[in-house]
Amino acid sequence: MSDARFGLNRIARLGSPLPLDGGGTLSSVDIAYETYGTLSPARDNAILICHALTGDQHVASDHPVTGKPGWWTRMVGPGKPVDTDRHLVIATNVIGSCMGSSGPASAAADGCPHGMRFPVITIRDMVRAQAMLLDHLGIDTLAAVVGGSMGGMQALSWAATFPARVRSAVVIASTARHSAQNIAFHEVGRQAIMADPKWRGGDYYSSGDPPSAGLAVARMAAHITYLSEAGLTEKFGRKLQAREAKTFGFDADFQVESYLRHQGLAFSDRFDANSYLYITRALDYFDLAEEHGGLLANAFRGAATRFCVVSFDTDWLYPTRESRNVVHALNAAGAAASFVELSSPYGHDAFLLESPELNRVVDGFLRAGA
């Protein structure tokens, strides 16, 4: 495809202002994105992949910072459930993030990073920005929007906000609203970042010394919520880290401590602390029912969109009852809904890991809609 709008590592500068749920507007919006596969002549085979809190547009290409393979190569690629031989797959970096889309780290009109001048955004704002990108790409209707965790929230928000533009939605390990417990864990993470003296009110970009310690602690707390208790026990138990005995000190005696510290440090190398604040805030503000008069079913009434909702039995971040809550609303609205709770030992992270059952369900669901 010679059209420069399609391919890897694209950035679209969308000139039209984006009105935000919080009241302000973004005067211009950059969206970093990638496309895989080919748009059909009828322009009707596009699938949008939505990423989770710390994900990005590199769904099936190597990450530019870590060099690791794309985060969902199990799901997206030639012959995969989201089949790039049949579909044009679009993956964007959400606004507020730090991989090329407009966010706190991107330059404001004065040439300096927005920092905390960046407006607080919502999941629906992310979705509206994606819709602007689709306009830019000349794509009216999506064959599907697919996402796990925060990506699933975007998929729900897509169906609720642009029902005529979404033929089917796949919502994995997700929820229609953030619970008190979800908000609580995020607040721990935000406070860890803001308590780091290097955070400097969010104005740390010129210092070259970001609040890595705070961001690492935030990631450590969040990472616990992505795993199951049984999974942690199986992987680490009470095993000690490269030592024969406890040291009676505060070094990482236990393997689980060492693991979390590594996760925190690796994360702070690739992610912007302010983006973490903004995106966790968007998640905490997410309550799809609230946007529709308090009744979740209203979000889906009259929609022709087909839905596939999947949960995992060990996911305690967004447990199965949250998916059932969505399914009940879909049934009440008369929407075409499928739902299955899959079994996995891996907790919330299961949606990113090897799951033949998940692949089978998504593959069949997407083929039926094609």
Binding site: R306, C308, R324, V327, H328, N331, A332, G334, A336, A337, S338, F339, V340, E341, L342, S343, E357, R360, V361, D363, G364, F365, R367, A368, G369
Partner: protein, 196 residues
């Protein structure tokens, strides 16, 4: 409709083309797929077993994992032309409430169940003194999902007492039609079409 279990074939043959159907206890979606492919039916399913749900969804059907005893309340009134409950009534905790829900959600309901008064079952209990293990009821008492065994006459009395209209009834013995008069003895399966 070839390949369908006989009671499902009867149901499939009597569902109006193009109608909206909820199949409660839809298994792997065999009936739903036949209704969709052969009769243009908009079929939705509810199934307890996650592996069956995954299979049904993978064949492109709209199936929700859930429990007939607890999850029917979320469907609006008269949302479907037919609610179908095949070989599931006897596995529910409260068959009476499930049937109420079926007739609330569907304008009509198909209900099929194995007849516990079939002569083989009677013989097993009468002469053997043991809970029957037959071709149709292949599991021992401790592992069978059938917790509310019902006979055709039980069911007839039950719907009559509740003022439910029977619009159709079909009886099967070894996959072939059986006469209604002696059905309670000779039929292995019954299929009822009901209306409130």
């Amino acid at each position: 409709m070839s390949g369908l279990r006989p009671d499902l074939a009867i149901i499939a043959a009597h569902v109006a083309p193009g109608s909206r159907v909820l199949d409660v206890g839809c298994g792997d979606g065999a009936l739903m797929a036949a209704l969709r492919d052969d009769r243009g039916v908009d079929a939705r399913g509810l199934e307890l077993d996650p592996a069956d749900v995954a299979t049904a969804v993978a064949r492109g059907l709209s199936v929700v994992q859930g429990d007939a005893d607890t999850d029917l309340k979320d469907y609006p009134d008269a949302a479907f032309d037919y609610a179908i409950l095949s070989q599931t009534l006897q596995t529910t905790r409260r068959p009476d409430r499930v049937l109420d829900e079926l007739l609330r959600i569907g304008r009509r309901a198909f209900v099929s169940f194995p007849n516990f008064a079939h002569w083989r079952v009677r013989g097993s209990l009468l002469f053997g003194g043991r809970m029957p293990v037959t071709r149709l009821l292949p599991l021992e008492w401790y592992e069978t999902p059938n917790i509310h065994h019902v006979t055709i006459d039980d069911f007839r009395a039950f719907v009559a007492q509740r003022g439910i209209t029977v619009e159709g009834a079909w009886f099967l013995a070894r996959g072939a039609p059986a006469r209604p008069a002696a059905a309670n003895v000779f039929a292995e399966h019954a299929v009822f079409l009901l209306r409130r």
